[in-house]
């Protein structure tokens, strides 16, 4: 976890940290103060590391850099992200110097507990400003806070703000700039004598004769060290000062307990008593509070039966929307890219460059960008649920179920985030206090079907699952299949968790403890910004990794491009043309009175007949596309019969020229088809001879039992660094190996028509299912593995994750295919 603040020496500007309890609107305030101009050091939507931004309009020459930190309840640092907050605030080594000032954001509707953390921060010896956020909500509920009285009592500035509306920001900026000059507040708290004695003695013993490189703990840190056996503070100090510290601490704790104090309660008792005192004088309530609105909503939303039902309905709704809303958009983008590809085909001369751009870049990267609408809808749902406060209720509802696998409800939130992307999901496990629970959550997070798997599911479902309403017309079969795919990953995750909890990660189940914040209307600005950030990240990824891999795959599939293939097929083309010319001569021989030197089709009668025949065929095509008749359907056959009758009547009408025209048409069509087949065969030959094709020949025996051909196998392998690549790869492989004229077909149509050498269709429902199941379970994401390594600080766990997931994926795909073909 490498985060660093610029040190005082290196830069001439001031650094101010923004801290506070979770759900106080810190990030909203941060965005408002920096005007959304930030350097985001982490994944969109998750404040798990610090975010930097420059505060606008500070006045005066100095620039102020604002640092947004994760929410924290206490400087005891019980979880990994609270540890980050602590480290940044006290300025330990890897974070650079301590900030020049600290802004504590408090929720005005929840002052007592917010002040617990604020009082700890005020003891750090840095300048502090208190930003009282959401004062509008407080006032609406009849609460008034005398911020001047508070400020006077505390000796720090207390600024009321409403971050969502931008109220009080200027005053806050001024207060921040002033506080940097003013200096640190005095610590107001009085701990019992027994505690104070041990504190001072501990600080003295730690300050010792050691060189100044060791950070000397402040009083609040010493307090946390004493009161939290086995905690973050103790661990850090023991690393610095040696294991003898353990004994010293045990003795000191023993003396505190002997004096009649409880280690668990003493700090809370002292702080809340002090808080009660200061709030009593500063806060007035004009009316007693009835049942808060949130609680009324929670009667249903957290109800064990109805709450779950609503949750399931929401999930189904999400999947259904993905199809309903995104469908038209997807088709539009798909069509756009196909059109672009055709234009390139016409604009550039045939050869490596044209192929690179059309088959590599457009078919590749373009194929992935088509899925942007779906992914954005998924992110929209998750962002709205997070922003309105419903996530905590989901954790509450699922706590019992999570208990079945040995985790608690809090672990569900990172898993839910992993449905969008496992990387921020894994990072957000830093809020989980228990180390074993955190590791378990990290290890099963990649099984949650992330947004990169969505294109694979959607493409294959759209191509091979019929679009039928089921369950009384409420839901479509396609949407249901999508839901089923998500369930595959989830069910396997449950099984893996059960196994791990009994073996590698044994430990007691942690009891649920989580605040359920008041519901609020999701802020459109926040949600849209979050979606924008994630869409941008997706496009950047499409633009870089996928682009790079698409190019590589293209190159592997294009070269060596031996001339022998071209010449062999040119010979075939020549003979086909020759045959056509011969047929033309035979036909003209039949037509009595043909004028020498005039091309057959220009003979006036023949030309007229040709035009008429053309008309009938065009009418047939128009009719078929207008009514969208499927191949072999009743409607299509009927239309064809009519067209054939029309042709027969024209031939009869024109007499010999009519027959000639008909024969001409047939011969031309035969030539076209033959040339097309030769083109297809040529492309196929190029592909088989290419590096990719040869690699594929090796793969085929391994993937045959799964129902795959070598192209799917190669695409799956290419997807190991990043699974988004598979669509791009399939786009390229099928384009390269396909009739170069048919670029107007999307990838879906290509998959539906792809065939083995013997003509059998490659893709059918069992194959599609086996591919989807493989992708549901396989670990194909370098970024995820890198994140696991970083969060667990070891290579063991990413290797373990990769191995178990890939093995499971292969076996599951095998079973799926072999079972499905028995039923198909």
């Amino acid at each position: 976890m490498s985060v660093s603040l610029p040190t005082q020496v290196e830069s001439s500007h001031a650094v101010v940290a923004l801290v506070g309890n979770p759900n106080t609107g810190k990030t909203t305030l941060f965005n408002a103060l920096t005007g959304y101009r930030q350097r985001v050091g982490n994944y969109p939507g998750v404040t798990v590391e610090k975010k930097n931004g420059v505060m606008r309009q500070c006045g005066g020459a100095a620039k102020v850099e604002l640092v947004d930190l994760p929410g924290a309840y206490s400087l005891a640092a019980g979880s990994a992200d609270e540890a980050i907050v602590l480290d940044v605030l006290i300025g330990t080594g890897m974070h650079g110097a301590a900030p020049d000032a600290i802004v504590v954001v408090l929720d005005a509707t929840n002052l007592a507990r917010n002040f617990f953390f604020a009082s700890q921060v005020m003891e750090l010896g840095r300048p502090v400003v208190l930003a009282l956020n959401m004062v509008d909500l407080a006032e609406a509920s009849g609460m008034r806070v005398d911020t001047d009285a508070l400020a006077e009592r505390l000796g720090v500035q207390v600024i009321p703000v409403v971050a969502t509306k931008g109220v009080g920001l200027d005053r806050l900026r001024r207060a921040i700039c002033e506080s940097i000059e003013t200096g640190a507040p005095k610590s107001p708290l009085d701990f019992p004598d027994c505690v104070r004695t041990e504190l001072e003695a501990l600080r003295a013993s730690l300050a010792g004769p050691e060189p100044g490189s060791n950070h000397v703990p402040t009083a609040v840190e010493a307090l946390q060290t004493l009161l939290n056996p086995g905690g973050y503070h103790e661990t850090r100090l023991v690393t610095q000062h040696g294991r003898a510290l353990f004994e010293e601490l045990a003795e000191r704790r023993g003396r505190i307990v002997a004096a009649g104090e409880s280690l668990a309660e003493v700090e809370a008792r002292v702080r809340y008593a002090w808080i009660g005192g200061i709030l009593e004088s500063a806060v007035t309530r004009s009316r007693t509070l009835g049942e808060p609105r949130s609680e009324k909503a929670d009667r249903i939303l957290t109800h064990r039966l109805w709450g779950m039902a609503i949750l399931l309905v929401l999930m189904c709704g999400c999947f259904q929307s993905i199809y309903a809303w995104a469908g038209p958009l997807m088709d539009a983008i798909d069509g756009g890219f196909a059109g672009l590809a055709t234009w390139i085909g016409a604009a550039l001369p045939a050869g490596a460059l044209q192929s690179l751009i059309r088959d590599g870049v457009i078919a590749g990267a373009g194929a992935v960008l088509v899925f942007l609408p779906q992914i954005m809808i998924l992110f929209l749902f998750i962002a709205v649920l997070e922003d309105c406060g419903y996530m905590a209720r989901v954790a509450f509802l699922l706590d019992r179920w999570m208990g079945l696998i040995g985790l608690n409800g809090k672990s569900f939130i990172p898993l839910l985030s992993s449905f969008a992307c496992a990387v921020p999901g894994i990072m957000s496990t830093r809020t989980i206090e228990d180390k074993r629970d955190r590791f378990l959550t990290i290890l099963i997070a990649p099984l949650m079907s992330c947004s990169a798997r969505l294109p694979v599911y959607i493409l294959l479902i759209a191509a091979f699952v019929p679009n039928r309403p089921v369950l009384g017309g409420v839901v479509g079969l396609q949407a249901l299949t999508l839901l089923a795919m998500y369930c595959v990953g989830t069910v396997v995750a449950v099984l893996v968790a059960l196994v791990l909890k009994r073996t590698l990660l044994k430990g007691p189940r942690q009891s649920f403890l989580m605040e359920l914040p008041a519901y609020k209307w999701p802020s459109a600005k926040t949600v849209l910004y979050r979606i924008y950030e994630q869409a941008k990240a997706f496009c950047v990824s499409a633009g870089t990794i996928i682009f790079a891999v698409a190019i590589v795959i293209w190159a592997l599939g294009y070269y060596p491009h031996p001339a022998s293939v071209a010449s062999a097929h040119d010979a075939q083309r020549a003979s086909a043309s020759k045959a056509h010319t011969q047929r033309l001569e035979e036909i003209s021989g039949e037509l009595a009175g043909a004028t020498a030197g005039v091309a057959l089709q220009d003979e006036p009668q023949v030309a007229a007949a040709l035009a008429a025949l053309e008309g009938v065929e065009n009418a047939f095509s128009d009719r078929v596309t207008d009514r969208d008749f499927a191949e072999g359907s009743e409607g299509r056959l009927a239309a064809r019969r009519e067209a054939d009758e029309g042709i027969a009547s024209i031939v009869a009408q024109f007499g010999p020229p009519g027959r000639t025209a008909s024969a001409l048409r047939q011969s031309s069509e035969a030539l076209e088809q033959e040339l097309s087949l030769i083109d297809k065969s040529e492309s196929g030959a190029y592909l088989r001879q290419s590096i990719l094709g040869r690699m594929g020949a090796w793969i085929e025996p391994v993937v045959r039992p799964l129902g795959w051909d070598w192209r799917i196998g190669m695409a799956a392998i290419a997807a190991f660094p990043a699974r988004e690549v598979v669509i791009a790869t399939m786009g390229t492989i099928y384009n390269l190996g396909d009739d170069q004229d048919e670029t107007s077909e999307g990838l879906r149509a290509k998959l539906q028509s792809a065939a083995w050498p013997d003509g059998r269709k490659v893709y059918n429902l069992p194959v599609a299912l086996s591919i989807m199941v493989f992708f549901a379970l396989c670990c194909q994401c370098g970024a995820t593995l890198a994140t696991i390594k970083r969060e667990t600080n070891s290579w063991r766990w990413p290797v373990f994750t990769f191995t178990y997931m890939t093995t499971l994926a292969y076996l599951a795909a095998l079973v799926t295919y072999q079972t499905a073909i028995r039923f198909a």
């Binding site: 007592a112 905690g231 309660e265 809370a268 929670d298 605040e515 359920l516």
Partner: protein, 74 residues
């Protein structure tokens, strides 16, 4: 001190906290969140986990945490 604690509360029942017991760090975390002597606690939704209201906001509590909270006899 009342031994039945939160487990016996129905919806709407309330009480005053006497203190928290149980192993560190879990009990300290509870205390730091405001579950201290003298605080008023009301049961919003009983069960495991339950939802209680304390100091004007709602907190979800699992079984072990529910057992850790000792209530004063009213």
């Amino acid at each position: 001190m009342n031994d039945t604690g939160l487990a016996s509360f129905g919806r709407g029942d309330s009480g005053v906290i006497e203190g928290v017991v149980g192993a560190l760090p879990s009990s300290k975390r509870l205390a730091d969140l405001g579950f201290v002597r003298g605080a008023m606690i009301m049961m919003v939704y009983p069960g495991i986990p339950c939802i209680v209201r304390i100091s004007g906001r709602c907190v979800g509590l699992g079984a072990e945490h529910q057992r850790s909270i000792k209530l004063s006899t009213m």
